[in-house]
Symmetry: C2
Subunit: 223 residues, 2 copies
Amino acid sequence: MHQTTIRVAEGALDANETIAGSNRGDFDRAGVRVLNLMSAPGAGKTALLEAALRETGDVRAGVLEGDVRGRLDADRLSHLHVPVTQINTDPAFGGECHLDANMVRSALPQIPLGEIDLLIVENVGNLVCPAEFTVGEDARWMVSSVTEGEDKPLKYPLMFRTCSLVAINKIDLLPHLDFDLDLFLANLAQVNPDAETLQLSARTGEGVEAWRERLLGLASAGR
Amino acid sequence: MHQTTIRVAEGALDANETIAGSNRGDFDRAGVRVLNLMSAPGAGKTALLEAALRETGDVRAGVLEGDVRGRLDADRLSHLHVPVTQINTDPAFGGECHLDANMVRSALPQIPLGEIDLLIVENVGNLVCPAEFTVGEDARWMVSSVTEGEDKPLKYPLMFRTCSLVAINKIDLLPHLDFDLDLFLANLAQVNPDAETLQLSARTGEGVEAWRERLLGLASAGR
């Protein structure tokens, strides 16, 4: 059974790469840069997008929300002046734990690619499978909350390795936790020595300006 | 492709149920009660087990640790007087995001079933797929941290629905968060009105005595 599982998985990943390539072609033709934003549940992806997208200057941003069920995050972003599209993954059995290229492809007709420069794909909260499935993105970033503990880069190495930037969120809670930031950074360096990091708090606003600049800068980043 | 995905998934779930039944038979014959303990990454499962298993009275407990990679959690529990067995899920492509019945079955020879009354299976940190795969357990519980936000029962309904007890952890952080506990409980009641809850903090010890009693009580609970 195990071998069968692996073969099915490899076939699914190959198919995913093919469809991700088609998505990428569509994004390129429309001149849209795409970020795949990932994290564990509750790490603060939506709060950080809310904070960053209040002021987008001359960047036309859009968001694609991936959730097992509901449109809570899309509703949270609905007061912003950016188009938000929701995908739910639950039609496929108990709910898929990640977005894949085909789900994003099926949402493309609802995304106004001609009216945006930057599409932020907010993935399902999960530190395992989202890292395995590309969706046609230019960049992969993640949010890691200091409440999750220092060991996460070692326990979920593929996720931390696949992301070029790790936003370390909820640093306002550091005085109330036994979290060792240096140890977290050392663990991160062990699996991904090239990862850029930002320390910030969506709640207090600390570091959010740097986060906004870095995020919006993706729209004009070289490929 | 979508229909194929669903068929493969249903076949895998059927096979899982069959193997879970075999596991359950082995556990029953050995007189071992089994808890499947689930949560998002970093919610505090290991810390709560560490706190509870310091004093197990006349209950002989054992732990089965599921992680994508490494044995960090097993090492954290190694100073306790309980047998700890580690499963890593990463031999199957980028790493499975959950334990399934077959992985637990393959670990059975390493678990001293004749020497324990209660086996606690600490699942991979993930709020989606672990809820879909039974492993032969008598009870399913979860840990939810107040740092994850009030919306989680609505975003991951299967997980919250499948668990009979939700341990609400890190309540020492409540004064430093915008977390609305009443709203969380209302959201939980919406998806699982019968869920038992415990409010506690592994860090300060608040509520840990009740958690220990409830956990060790599983060893003698009726089926």
